[in-house]
């Protein structure tokens, strides 16, 4: 069960939570990337405190970590690292792999093109990144670091996710308002989909039949039939909602959506595609990402303007805690690791 959950959670984008111990005792950690401090905050969810940081670069303000993903076994956290020059490619553009046992950088994949978000295939063999500066999606062999292929996407690519069966990669493009579908096995572009205005994040349903795409300016979530790669429904959150990062509950029945502009989290019932809860009270400022704990009891948001992580108790759908992180908290990831 532990490994199965880990593989499912490897698809989600921002908070990495690593579990120690057995499936019965599922301790986990929460990781939050801090864009302006060039580090990652490590959070103990039991004490709800930051226990330390992982340094990504000694040049905060020049180098920024943003999107994150966790390997299926939870032993590696992958972080998109770039500079602050979105339109150019520099040596800082990379995917950094952190060995979470040692809390050290284990490998650096030269990415180029200002990678903004990263995703890992369910088998852990492929790393995919959205390259903001060059309007591309790029795939790497996780073991060797070799570049598998690079594909043109829409302008200002951002969100990236691999389907649960490992077959397809979806990459969003902020300025083109599109999603590019890449066949990860045949290594070719399959389609470009028109979604809502200014798409940010994309996640697959647990069973892989659908994908959800957040559109910040559109205030919508596009629902994609993943077998046909077609938008079949649009969930309207309101023009002022500004949806950005997303994550699913472990059972896939709830979609948590961070509303960056409204400092709220929208919880969508995926069986009805309707908003079931709006969590706003005590929320940190500008929640940009959200991640759900392995048991679904908590959700965590990365709050860029309050430099914090908010803790949501899903039994009351309310914020029960705030944890100080670093400057410009960008992404948060929750993952599960089999400590054995």
């Amino acid at each position: 069960m532990t490994i199965a959950i880990a593989r499912q959670l490897a698809r989600t984008a921002a908070v990495v939570v690593l579990a120690a111990g057995t499936a019965q005792a599922q301790g986990y950690r929460v990781y939050a990337s801090n864009e302006y401090d060039a580090n990652v905050t490590v959070i103990d969810p039991d004490t709800q405190t930051a226990t330390g940081t992982i340094k990504i670069s000694g040049r905060p303000g020049d180098v920024r970590p943003r999107g994150m993903a966790v390997s299926p076994d939870g032993k590696t956290v992958y972080i998109s690292v770039s500079d602050f020059l979105p339109k150019t490619e520099t040596p800082e553009d990379a995917i950094v792999a952190i060995d979470v046992d040692r809390n050290e950088v284990a490998h650096t994949y030269r990415a180029g093109g200002n990678p903004e978000r990263v995703a890992i295939s369910p088998d852990g063999k492929q790393i995919w990144a959205a390259l903001e500066a060059t309007a591309q999606g790029v795939g790497f062999d996780a073991a060797t670091g070799a570049e598998l292929a690079k594909f043109p996407t829409g302008v200002e690519s951002e969100g990236v996710v691999v389907s649960p069966d490992g077959r397809f990669v979806y990459v969003t493009a902020e300025t083109s308002h599109t999603v590019t579908v890449i066949d990860a096995q045949k290594l070719k572009v399959v389609a470009h989909l028109l979604v809502g205005n200014r798409p940010r994040d994309v996640v697959f349903a647990r069973d892989g039949t659908r994908a959800y795409v957040s559109a910040e300016i559109g205030g919508t979530i596009s629902v994609v039939d993943a077998s046909k790669h077609k938008v079949v429904k649009t969930i309207n959150l309101g023009l002022d909602s500004r949806p950005v990062g997303m994550d699913l509950s472990p059972d896939g029945k709830l979609l948590y959506v961070a509303g960056g502009g409204t400092s709220a989290v929208y919880v969508i019932d995926t069986t009805t595609d309707k908003v079931a809860h709006v969590i706003k009270e005590k929320m940190g400022r500008r929640p940009w990402a959200v991640a759900v704990s392995p048991d679904g009891s908590r959700a965590y948001t990365a709050n860029g303007l309050s430099d914090s992580v908010s803790v949501i108790d899903t039994s009351c759908m309310c914020v029960t805690g705030q944890i100080a992180a670093g400057r410009g908290t960008h992404s948060v990831r929750v993952g599960l690791v089999d400590a054995n």
Binding site: F84, P86, A173, T178, T180, I217, D240
Partner: protein, 344 residues
């Protein structure tokens, strides 16, 4: 060509979710009034630059040799409204044209541009009055559209900060004054805001004030070139609620494509009617909306159509009235295909 001219369509503000949709309802007027706003803030920035340079000459010259980048800006912006202004008031058009020419010349020659800038600033209110009636221009919806343009248009506050971090001092100065203009326009809308909206707008403006603290470029700008973008976007989102107006034309790509088609069709009709200057002006406005809203998406979804449109718009931009008239047929055909590609 008449057969290819697209029948104007009715703007549908209701479908936007807001009561007003100024970019759909008055696309030409918004573009022209926004251009006039940019002319005025550029004049204010150039006036300051002239004074600073004089002070430098009295003391130790900084030797930067920096050119007054953006001095061509007012000419480009004037090209979006000149023919309309001339039709409404030939005398005012001549005066403003002369004032802008003098301003640009003074800036390019690094001479004192203050007097020329004052003349431009003096004339712009009258030009506003000639380009459209107060009944529309003074509505909250229209005022919010001008604020959105100053914040998010190419060369606006969001993009201007990015350019400033890359060394373009004129982008900083111009957008400092653009921000002051946004604040001034906000005063006219603030009464409509709820206490929470007002507080959020104030907080967002405070962030932008922190990025543009004075008319002189700070010694150190943010390492993040895009730092002005998020608050600028947030402010426009707040303005939508306060003004009850759709301020993102590109939110609905099909509607945006319709606006582009309609404005282009109007321009082509003007050319066909022998109103050459007016027609080219309207086509330039259509090109601006095309670039802002649908170009990138069409480039993905219908690349051949996008290429054909790009080629036609290049003719409009680089040629004269004759070239623009010749480009009308492929342009309108391409835009119609593009709209179809973007319509669900």
């Amino acid at each position: 060509m008449a057969a290819l001219l697209l029948a104007p369509t009715v703007a549908d503000a209701q479908s936007s979710g807001y009561a007003g949709a100024p970019f759909r309802e008055h696309p030409i007027e918004v573009a022209q009034m926004a251009a006039l706003e940019r002319i005025e803030v550029t004049a204010r920035a150039l006036a300051v630059a002239a004074v600073s340079d004089e002070a430098d000459e009295d003391g130790a010259a900084d030797g930067s040799g920096e050119e007054h980048e953006g001095a061509g800006g007012p000419l480009v912006d004037f090209g979006l409204l000149r023919a309309n202004l001339a039709a409404a008031s030939p005398e005012l058009e001549k005066q403003l044209a002369a004032a802008i020419d003098a301003l640009v010349e003074a800036a390019e020659d690094r001479k004192d541009a203050a007097e020329a800038a004052e003349e431009v600033i003096r004339l712009t209110p009258a030009a506003r009055g000639k380009l459209m009636t107060d009944a529309v221009a003074d509505t909250p919806s229209f005022q919010a559209a001008l604020m959105a343009s100053l914040l998010l248009d190419e060369g606006g506050i969001a993009e201007g900060y990015e350019e400033a971090t890359q060394g373009k001092a004129s982008a900083y100065a111009t957008n400092y004054f653009a921000l002051q203009r946004v604040k001034s326009l906000w005063e006219g809308l603030a009464g409509r805001a709820s206490p929470q909206q007002a507080a959020e707008v104030a907080a967002t403006i405070a962030i932008l004030d922190g990025l543009f603290p004075s008319q002189e470029t700070p010694e150190r700008l943010s390492p993040d070139p895009e730092q002005a973008e998020a608050p600028a976007q947030q402010l426009v989102g707040l303005l939508e609620g306060v003004a009850d107006a759709e301020l993102y034309l590109g939110r609905d790509l099909a509607a945006a494509a319709t606006v582009v088609c309609d404005v282009a069709a109007k321009g082509c009709a003007s050319l066909e009617a022998g109103k050459e200057a007016l027609g080219v002006e309207e086509l330039r406005i259509a090109a601006g909306y095309y670039d802002q809203t649908v170009r990138d998406t069409l480039g993905m979804m219908a690349p051949e159509t996008a290429a054909a449109i790009a080629e036609a718009l290049e003719e409009v931009d680089e040629g004269g009235a004759d070239e623009a008239a010749e480009a009308c047929s492929p342009l309108l055909e391409g835009l119609a295909e593009g709209r179809a590609a973007l319509t669900p």
